[in-house]
Amino acid sequence: MMLEVRHLSKTFGGLKAVSDVSLDVQEGSIIGLLGPNGAGKTTCFTMIAGFTKADSGHVRFAGREITGLSPHQICRLGMIRTFQIVQPFVGLTVQENIAVGAYLHHHQRNDAMAVARDIGKRLGLGEMLDRPAAALTIAGRKRLELARALATGAKLLLLDEVMAGLIPSEINEIVGIIRQIQSQGHTILLIEHVMQAVMKLAETAYVLNQGRLIAHGTPQQLVSDPSVVEAYLGHGAAARLQEGQHA
């Protein structure tokens, strides 16, 4: 088991952001983490990746206890997280951006830049490599986030709403890229709202609502699960939908 999360909890000043969340991610799979806004998904990510200290619970990565480690230590072990709001290194070129990730395991500038060029091309950024990162479109920046993450050699990627802000054709492209990443042996846990992407990518998914885990299954199962429908559409919505279908 690549990632084992057990009983993760976090309270922020009286508000229970995450309550007793447990999940498993198998090596080589793509797993979804879903739920309406404010459900606690990103907080889970920040706890797993070491940016936030969990109040209670454990995280094991590739059999190793990583609870309480700092983000850079976790990254060195092979897990990396991307950010919901994309954060390129503005003053650097695209290639230099990716190289910052590559430097983790390639200490020489030439090696790091070569690896960066290679990954950049694989993710369709070949033409933009020498341009400033600030010149990229949103879709380009998302690819850059992915490229930078891959350059660190991470085996497990935590992708936080990587589809946000993209138009359908761009979504398709990123879906393809993520599939490609999986086929190269990586494992992916993704937070996502865009259902189209979730249906196409996630083998199974966990659903959070108000900090609690309320469902787990394949996307098909989840879509017809009343508690999931209610989480997104409100109390009683599931029953109303049922009525609508029977009518």
Binding site: F51, L104, A112
Partner: protein, 325 residues
Amino acid sequence: MRFQSLGQYGLVLFAIVYLAGVYFVSSPVWMGFTINALIVALAALSWNITGGFGGLSSFGHAALYGTGAYASAILQVKYGFNAWIGFGAGIAAGSAMGALIGGLAFRYGLKGSYFALVTLAFAEVLRICASSFEWTGGGSGLQLKLMPGLAQLQIVDRPWIYTGLLAVVALVMLLTALIQKSRFGAYLIAIRENEDAAEALGINTYQIKVQAMAISGAFGGLAGVLYLQLWLFIDSTVVYGSAVSVEALIGPIIGGAGTVWGPLLGTLGLHLLGEGTKHLLPNSPGLNFVLYAVVLICALRFLPQGLVGFAARIGVLRKKDQDDA
């Protein structure tokens, strides 16, 4: 050295021509003036490591400069050590002070304005201490015994001083360039741009920042030590005073923070301007600082990337980007 534009080549050429030309000017005043400017340029290069590349603006760089000077002076005056020992000790002391201040400040998560203020506070504490204790010469400062000769690092012949300083400045600039192209440099710049993203990519941001302060401290201590060997006298106001801290940051900001040539160009440019005003308005202490301040404000408003950044847009050599936003 490859630059992006004709403008940048022009700037650097101007600097080199000026620095070479000093040898041939008959009046020794120019050489003396440039020697002073070069020492300030070293302090500026030191500031540039953390303030320019790291985005950690320090308002108290005198803390590093002064510590280097005092370490060397104390060893020579109070304990009779040789000047070269003092030289090495000064650099080491500057580096250690940098690591200490950085280690504490970053441990407690200080950045931005708070970091600037805490460095200022450290410099002031050191200044007050240096002027209060007998060990550091108290209010009267420390005076080196006049012992001309290379053995005690007291060079008398002005052209040799000048050449030596040029070599040191060139060396520090070379080291800066190497840092810029290294893994450490890439990490430092990444931290400046976005610390969280850098952390997520496996960078131990605390360690890198403290190391940067240590390197900056070494360069700062070097500048302080050279000042001592040049003037043979230091006191707390001269080496721990705010003037040093201010000059250390003005040059790079105007010349171009985070570039290799920025600190030197900015410092030279400012000092030349200052010297010009001294000729126009003789006997006016402090007016050159007024001028520096005016130039700084204009630079902040109109030249956010400094002279180097501005020159980058004049006569661009690479193919121009098609859709530059």
